[in-house]
Symmetry: C2
Subunit: 336 residues, 2 copies
DNA sequence: TGTTAGCACTCGCCAGTGCTGAGTGCTAAC
DNA sequence: GTTAGCACTCAGCACTGGCGAGTGCTAACA
């Protein structure tokens, strides 16, 4: 597609621009990278690359910057997976060890780790136990008319809610209902539970059936939400440090996107799940991320649960390093 | 302290500046507020007010803007509590009703409500059950070597964690430990539990005592964290809309403060808890909030639990409206 | 004694100007 | 195919003068 020298020139520009955030001129390349040709030759190559759509010129007499397509070519050309420096790997291993030792995975600690290592904003999506099934329901009386309702899934996930007994519903009734659920619904999948009508099950109470129905719905909703809504951001303020976002309107657009967790969830989970996937600039479906790149990697826990870790930065992103990092982190998380 | 006309002039400037965010000139006041005197007289008053420290002049030939002290005087002078407009009250009542109906208080829904009504950033601090006591410990086996450990407090708060049985620790041992805890530690306060050494209690197991100790510590830490770490932000991006924060460095300073939840917690909880407390500009101990005002109100649930709702905005804030709103919201929350 | 009109003065803002330097594209020579 | 040289372009910067909003001061007035 591109001859060897064009690739060298393109890669030189991408790498320099990632470092400096300044348009790169032909003389700069001739000096900093020893390609063995003069700046004039590089100028010709650059003109060709621009015509092919790999480079862009902010204005007539400025240097060139990579276009989205240029970055795309650069990323695709990294046929060998970029490797992590030993230092980075050591840091990750040590810190991640601490995070994973606790039985519960701390999504926010994970997000913080990734963002502090990359200096970009990180997005962590918690695992979604699609196949989770009801293990046990429990009622724990607190006093005469309050009790904790509790649902436990076989994945170990727990939802609980305090219920105040409405008139006509006794603690005994509630315990009976609980027994009934345990006898008949243990092993039912979360998605089936979601569609279930508990008012019918609770129907043999004289009153208070709706209250029970309402509480159960809320519990199940809580469980399914804590399934999908597990979007955690890390280092959102790192965006402020990028010179391309010194313009406040761009910043605002990005922040607005990050605020909408459902949107973020869709964006991240729609990435192909093999290895680290990169979407550059306008490749992002969302208008506000037109100047951003998103790198997403997937981790897999036992039991078919999967989650994602993403890094959001400007298109001028340290692709190699971030990809290496995400691959490493997801590998370690998956092994835990 | 200030004669009637000086107060009128000061209040006029504060109110106009809150609306326009532009320095206010003497002619503007003479026209918009019918004080019955000419702009020249107002100029004299303004010069006096500046000398007294209530006003400031961005540069020689600009209008005046209120200083921190000016805002402070304005706020203190609202001896009658500002009232909420009927429209606002209606919105709050309807929306808050929905939020409070669910048994668990949804802190983030609350934060969203307050920020959407005020167009500022809101900070909600969840209730801290200082006096919470252990109600019950439970072990729910999931399979041969995994179980959910669960602690329930008398407030209805629940913490749970999946534990994988280490070598030498059987499910029976774990259940025995659980019984032991229930017999001996029910009714113990959370703060005491925090200092407790469970390894000793679990000591009659041949092995696995540390694993239990570790899990218990993590559970208790989780409970005390979900006690205090319940800092929820709403509408953080609203700050972007304020013209005074078009400068990105100020914005960054504020965001950095908001990112540190412990700092925010200290800041908000240190406010005097009677009514709505206002801290203006440099009154905020934190450097980054030098240009902000923070209005904090406290809500009280049953059982001595208290929490806070704050609104963070520029010093040029709609004090009256926000104070009225916070008073109303905290009243409704406290009644629920 | 307080209030007011008038006037000179200040200063931010804006548009226009000229200069500089970085970088390009083209051409002719190697 | 490569290179040196040169004319050209254009953003950025500093400087300028005019405009307008607003002030402070003074002298006259009630």
């Amino acid at each position: 597609m591109l001859d060897a020298r064009k690739r060298q020139v393109l890669f030189a520009i991408v790498q320099d621009y990632i470092q400096t955030a300044e348009p790169i001129g032909s003389r700069t390349i001739a000096k900093r990278h020893s390609l063995g040709v003069s700046s004039a030759t590089i100028r010709n190559e650059m003109a060709d690359l621009e015509e092919l759509g790999f480079l862009a010129q902010p204005h007539t007499s400025a240097g060139r910057i990579p276009s989205d397509r240029g970055y795309r070519f650069y990323v695709d050309a990294m046929e060998v997976l970029p490797v992590l420096t030993a230092v980075d790997a050591e840091i990750v291993k040590r810190q991640l060890g601490g995070i994973l030792r606790g039985q519960q995975m701390m999504l926010d600690a994970l997000a913080r780790l990734v963002s502090s290592l990359t200096n970009y904003t990180s997005i962590v999506i918690g695992p979604q136990p699609h196949q989770a099934r009801l293990k046990l329901m429990q009622v724990i009386p607190l006093d005469e008319n309050r009790a904790v309702l509790m649902l436990v899934l076989d994945t170990g996930m727990v939802a609980n809610e305090v219920i105040t007994l409405p008139r006509g519903l006794t603690m005994c009734d509630l315990l009976a209902f609980c027994n009934y659920v345990n006898l008949n619904l243990a092993g039912t999948s979360l998605s089936k539970l979601k569609d279930m009508d508990f008012e019918a099950y609770a129907g043999h109470f004289h009153a208070g059936a709706q209250a029970v129905e309402q509480a159960m719905d809320s519990l199940i909703a809580g469980l399914s939400r804590s399934e999908g809504d597990r979007v955690v951001l890390g280092g959102a303020t790192n965006i402020f440090n990028q010179p391309e976002f010194r313009d406040i309107t761009k910043l605002r657009a990005i922040m607005r996107v990050l605020d909408e967790h459902e949107l973020v969830l869709r964006l991240v989970t729609s990435a192909p799940s093999a290895g680290a996937s990169v979407s550059i600039g306008a490749e992002n479906a969302v208008e506000g991320l037109r100047d951003c790149s998103l790198i997403t990697a997937t981790y897999r826990l036992g039991g078919g649960q999967t989650g994602h870790i993403s890094v959001l930065g400007p298109t001028r992103m340290e692709y190699a390093r971030v990809i290496a990092l995400l691959n490493y982190v997801t590998k370690l998380v998956s092994q835990a």
